[in-house]
Amino acid sequence: MKKVSIILAFTFLVIFFSSCLRTLHPIFTIKDIVYEPKLIGTWKTGNQGTKGLVIITNLAADNSIELPEKISTIRQKGYLISYQDKDGNATEQYIAFLARIGKHLYFDYFPAEKKDSKTIDEFFTSHFVKMHTSYRVDISKDGDFELSQLDESYVTKLINEKKIRISHEKDANGSIVITASTDELQQYIIKYGDEHGAYRSEKTVFQKIIHDL
């Protein structure tokens, strides 16, 4: 037996912990895609006030984004979602597709990168695999919409309590990585899509300020 302080090890766990549900596979297939033109525009969000804006454009309208080959063939059905800070700089960009799964609409977000942007060392970045994050989309009659992000801790709890069978792996830091196929993910969403606890508590409300880009 060795006496070891495991605080150090816990430090690593905390570093890599994330509470939004990340999946290796997308939640949609091409046949599930719904294109909603009303989402195109400039939006302000409830939790950012007027300081940060979100710009949603058609994915085909921006040729500077690196797209996987098959995504490129369906880019007219997709969106580029750019989150901006108060100075108008893009802080996060996502390739997004809207899909109907069960009763609800969902956004599948995938990190977007510009083709010519190579600021960081390629060797370092080659150690990162881009993951999908998903949101339920509730569009109101006045055109505003609300995003509710799927919560990783909810799935993790179900897995740990053996209440669900969904493909996953544990990574080197002990965190659960959801490796479920698109079909499995859709089954999960259909089953738990109406469960309040399956989503993170904070919702993001999008209010349109500029139409049609």
Binding site: E66, I120, S126, T133
Partner: protein
């Protein structure tokens, strides 16, 4: 986190040039510490500082943070628990630090010996975009999964190390064609490919193909020359 997003830019071609594995090639019990690795190395005009974990600035930083909570979470771990607790691997790893375009990168390198050949497992720790702050690490963004890459290590002499990275493109083609078998996840829509085999399976796989030169990406071979 946002700052890291801005600079985290990768092309698919780069992603596929190295094999990415969810699990490391080494474990706490199989990792070896080899004094030949420590030191400052140079390649293509860049310096790479390699330190044993417990000699590294990273450890000093973490220890300082640990001291704030001293006594709160101490626990006795058995050998089995230590082997199962993946972060323990880092205690027998090296911290690799290098700077490119004013950004400092910090990674773990864990070495293992398989069939009399050395292999090193690389894992990212973080980047430091502010050189004025000793450990201003920005860690893994939440929309990306930190993985491991693997290279064969050849100590050409006491002052030279050659690293041959496993060719991701070759491996992908072989797996897709059914000529190589290893547990993986592949998404055709987004061109995602990730090895999900366990460390033990990964070690067996590497041992099987270690002598096949097609297994290594010659374009990605790196020769490091000792500076100090």
């Amino acid at each position: 986190m946002k700052k890291l997003f801005i600079v985290l830019t990768i092309s698919l071609a780069v992603m596929q040039s190295c094999v990415t594995s969810l699990q490391p090639l080494a474990t706490y019990n199989t990792a070896i510490v080899d004094d030949r690795l420590a030191g400052t190395w140079s390649s293509d005009g860049h310096d790479y500082e390699v330190q044993k974990f417990f000699d590294s600035d990273l450890y000093k930083y973490i220890k300082k943070e640990m001291d704030k909570y001293k006594g709160n979470n101490d626990k006795v771990l058995s050998e089995k628990e230590m082997e199962d607790f993946a972060p323990m691997l880092y205690f027998k790893s090296y911290v690799i630090k290098y700077t490119k375009d004013k950004i400092e990168y910090v990674m773990f390198g864990s070495m293992v010996k398989l069939n009399d050949q050395f292999f090193i497992n690389f894992a990212p720790i973080g980047v430091n975009t502010d050189k004025n702050k000793a450990q201003a690490f920005e860690m893994t963004p939440t929309d990306r999964l930190a993985t491991h890459t693997i290279a064969r290590v050849q100590f050409t002499n006491s002052n030279t190390i050659k690293l041959d990275f496993i060719d991701g493109g070759f491996l992908y083609d072989q797996v897709k064609a059914g000529r190589m078998k290893i547990k993986n996840e592949k998404d055709d829509l987004y061109d995602t490919f990730l090895i999900t085999a366990s460390t033990s399976e990964l070690q067996q796989f590497i041992q099987k193909y270690a002598n096949d030169e097609r297994f290594y990406n010659k374009e990605n071979s790196v020769t490091l020359t000792r500076k100090s």
